[in-house]
Structures are given as C-alpha cells and as structure tokens.
Symmetry: C2
Subunit: 331 residues, 2 copies
C-alpha cells in the first residue's frame, strides 16, 4: 500500500470517489465513525493518531508504518504533545458511531526529527467540503461544531532492544519534511509544552482567575500489560489519556461526586505532553490538582502530573478543561 | 456513506482499485494494520468486530450503525459469541502495524434477530487474492498463517433508557437476512456456546487428556468508566477480552510466573460467550481454572467465568487455549 494513493484508514466520501489525493499540502477524509473509534475511552484519540501518521506519510512520502532510522533500526513517529480543543456543544465524547465526519489535516515542517500535524474535525457538510485550513484560523480555536487537534511528533528509536526507556531521536531517510510549510513562530507548540514541563500545568491564565478546589491528591497505577502496550511493545500514546482520566476519576470520587456526573462532564480542551515512555512493569504515581474558574465555577481545570513512582521521573503532564453539567453545579 | 459502495474501514488493495463490491455473498478487504488496530490489548478484536458490522451491513443492505427496531428505538448488533482461532505461528498477537492483511468475510442466515459472520484473516498474498471461503474449509480450522474468526451477533435494544440490563431482542426492518446462505447445521455455534453456558467451559475434549494446574482462583474488577463503555454507553464487547486477560494475568502471577512470559504466550484459540451486558458501576467476579494438556504441558486451557459480583448473574464465559513459550516450559 502506498499512502499517496490510498491512506491506510481513509474512507470514501459519500459520493464514492475515494480518498482525495494531497491537495496543496492538505489531506481531506470523510469518515463514518465505527464502534472501534469512539466511546468513553481513548479509542477516538487513538484513531486521530492514526490520521496523524497517515497525514505525515502522505505529505512527506514516508513509509510511517515501516520507518527505519539511519542505522536500520525501526523508527516510530512518537507522540510528544497532543491537544484537543472543542466546545461545550461539540467535544471529544460527542462523537458516536454512525456520525459522519469531515477530517481536514495539514503538517508543518519542524526539521528532520519532528513534525507538527493539525486536524479540523467537523460533522460532514455538503455545503463547504473544500474549506481551506489555515494556521491562522486553526489557532483562533474551533468554531462551534468543530474539534481542533494538534499533534507534535518526534521520530524515535529504541536505544536497547526490549527497553522502552531512553528512546533516542531518529530520522528516516524517506521523511521529506522540507516540502512541508513552515509554521509561523507565534503558533509553535514549543511554548505550551515547554511551560507545562516547567510549571506542571498548561494553564497560562492569571492564577487569580481560579479558585482552588483540591490539591495534593495522588493515586497510583501500574502499566496494564493487557491493555496499555501497542503493537511494538511501547506504552500506547492513547493509553496516557486513560491514565489521566483514571486519575481525574479518582479525584472526582474523592470529592464526593458521582460517576454519572463524570460521564456527563464535557472536556472542552485537553493538552498532554509526553515526557517519557515506560517499561511494562512500571508503577506510576499520578498527582491531581483541581481549580474552578472563579467567575463560573462549573468550569474547572484538572492538572495531572504522571511520574514513575519508583524513580520520580516525569512521564507526562496533562491539563483538562472541564465543564460540569448544570445538574451537578450544586455539588 | 453506503456500505454497498464503500465499507467503513475498508482500504484499497495495493493495486489501487478500491474495496471490492460484494461478490457471491463474500466481502474482501485488503487492510494495512495501523497502531489503533493492534497491540497487547483488545484493539484488533474491536477492529474485527467493525468488519463484522460492515459485512452484515453490506450483505444485508442494513444501516448497521444507525439501526432501529420496529418501535423506532436504536437497535445494536450485539456480540453474543466470539471465537478466534490461529496457530502457534500466527495468532491474535502476531499482527503489528504495517502488516498487510487479506480479510475475507461471509455472513449466514440465522433468522430476523441474529446472524453469524466468519472472517478469514491472512497475510496479503498476490498469488490467490480471490480464494473462496467455504463453511467446510472454515470449520476445518485455520491453515498456517491464517486466523479464523466467528462472530454470532444478536440485534438488541434497551428495555429502559440508561440501563444496560435486560436488553431485549430487536429486528431492524432493513435487515434483509433471507438473502444470506444457511449454515449447515453441523457447524452451528449454538452447540459450543450452549455447552459453555452449561458447563462454564468451551472445552469439549475428554477430561482425562488434561491435568489440573489451578482451580478456585477468583479476582474482582469494577467496570472502568474511563475505558470500558462504547459510544452508546454499553460495555464494549472488546473490553470483555480485556477482563478475561486481566483475570488470566492475575492467575498467572499467582502461579509465580512472570509478566514477560505472559506477553510471550500464544493464544491459539479463544472462545467467549456474552451472557449479559452490565451497568457502568458493576463489580465483576472472575473465576479462573487452568488445565495443562497431559501429553504436552506447554499447552494450557484457561477457563474464565465472569459474574456480577453482587447478584451472581453470569456475564460471560471464555476459554483460552494457550501455548507457553519454550523458555517458560520449566516453570
């Protein structure tokens, strides 16, 4: 299979003409959501990750699924920073099977070892199928009915066979990144993930806008070898979202809130920076901090910091912006 | 999107001609495995489930993703019995991203409320792309390099909104099952799952061929609302495989075996019968029994019985046939 002619998981638009070839550096797909792509889980986030690999493969002429570094060892387009933004009306868990989505994707040049990919995801529309996706529009944030996803990926290889620690940079020979456009510096994701690694939160608003709800909560999680390893034995990037959700749920219950309210909450923005992968037997310690927007306490920020419980090394940082549903505001 | 023209997740064969239309009641796809479809998890089992829905939708002219029963309420093509058979050389966890598979599928008529679908999954081969799939060949078992999957599904609707208990039979008006062939009675899955529900094991071999390894082990698991619910709030059928794997892993560790040996084990046959769905807050009790084939103790059977821990009601029964790798034979 060649990405140029047939994206791995691309589906035909409803007019039956098949996936569109790359057009001015933009990849478009019409996708019908299936059960394996959605739910109260990380399946949709995993699916979006596949679209990222497909986009990079198509636009850069790279065999992403079979990539190899200069030394011939397998190279993986690892996720380093992942952001999903929606709205109270259309968020990550709004999508269910049978929904038809238009997914528009672009990638931007970040040199030979990394790449940024953006996706605009919206309910399929016959009115404006070829609407352009510009960086300026994307970074203004999603319009109602849209999800905006940013994926910053780095090529890595294993340093030692069988170990998920100390992955090293790689650069496949067929990664033709120079054909990608540059991203205006003002939009670079480096500022966001750099700050998050320093401050352990993605929040860049003045602290006085928020009121503390809970601090100092921690929980533990051992990497689940029946669920968390991908096809090459690395911890699957989508599983990190499950780790975060589990920590948020534990904190949620500790606040005396019920599971129904957790399922009804709307995650309108989530950012996650992957600092490290981990070996299968790693025990994680997850710390959670909760703040409410003082002006509207139904809007909360959950900062989750994931560390290797044994070494204390940082594994990931994530911030979820959550709207609690009106029924729960009085909790 | 219409299934007839473009299967939801079908990918183009490498010659670029696109998914094949139904041909004599057989659906063929060439699929490149992506990260969201494989790993030490249930993603590939979930993907196969999507192929089942797609096959039924295509062959029966049914809008499976948006199906409704006679009363207009949503109808789901729920999984009732699921079997995957492979071999020591090609099993469920042999598949990794970048692999190109030929998936050949057929469905058989079981009346207006259920349907049987079979899939032959093999590494893509230019030599024999149109090889027929007959029931007789399928039920002889997989040739080397093939997986054979059986899915028996039943149309169900919720009896009460918001409840996953007591799902009731349904039959969408556009489910044109009469166009499907009948399955010769000798191959009916009813015998297998009927026996499993009675005896709590799928094993139909003489008991004297096996030597007990462990009996009476139980563990508990609470439905994880961050991972186990599908797009309509039911417990996802693929999650049941994770429940089974977790129970097997707990028993595995209790036997003093290590996680590496668990990951290297080869599940060459797994059968699972779904007796009930469950509400999100359900706590499960999982019982595990292990037997070794007396003539080759590297071959083991794991019977897992899943019950609602509160009511004792049966949720599922599964049997895994496992080969431990030579390195572990002495354990």
């Amino acid at each position: 299979m060649t990405y140029q002619t047939a994206p791995a998981d691309g589906t035909a638009p409803s007019d039956g003409t098949g996936p569109q070839p790359p057009d001015a550096g933009t990849l478009r797909r019409r996708v019908t959501v299936s059960p394996a792509m959605c739910g109260h889980n990380s399946l949709f986030l995993g699916q979006i990750g596949d679209w990222t690999w497909e986009t990079v493969g198509t636009l850069c002429g790279t065999d992403v699924l079979g990539a190899r570094g200069a030394d011939g060892s397998p190279a993986y387009l690892a996720f380093y920073y992942y952001r999903v933004r929606g709205s109270r009306d259309f968020h990550l868990r709004s999508v269910s099977f049978g929904d038809v989505l238009d997914v528009t994707s672009r990638s931007f040049d970040f040199g030979s070892e990394s790449v940024l990919t953006i996706h605009r995801i919206a309910a399929a529309s016959a009115a404006d199928p070829g609407r352009p996706l510009t960086a300026a529009e994307f970074y203004r944030g999603p319009a109602p009915g849209e999800l905006h996803v940013e994926n910053f990926n780095r090529w890595v290889s294993r340093r030692r066979a069988g170990s998920n620690q100390g992955l090293v940079p790689a650069s496949p020979a067929d990664f033709r990144h120079r054909r990608l456009p540059a991203l205006p510096e003002e939009y670079s994701p480096r500022r966001a993930y750099g700050r998050a690694r320093q401050t352990l939160s993605f929040c860049d608003e003045p602290p006085e806008e928020y009121t503390p709800v809970a601090e100092g909560f921690t929980t533990r999680y051992r990497i689940d070898i029946t669920r968390d390893l991908n096809g090459v034995g690395l911890v699957y990037f989508a599983s990190y979202f499950s780790f975060v959700d589990q920590a948020v749920l534990c904190q949620w219950r500790a606040l005396g809130r019920d599971d129904g309210a957790f399922l009804r909450r709307r995650v309108v923005d989530q950012q996650l920076c992957y600092a490290q992968n981990a070996d299968p037997d790693t025990e994680l310690e997850l710390g959670v901090t909760v703040r409410a927007r003082t002006a509207d306490r139904a809007e909360e920020l959950f900062d989750v910091v994931i560390r290797d419980a044994t070494t204390g090394n940082l594994i990931a940082v994530s911030t979820q912006r959550v709207y609690r549903q009106p029924e729960e505001e009085g909790q």
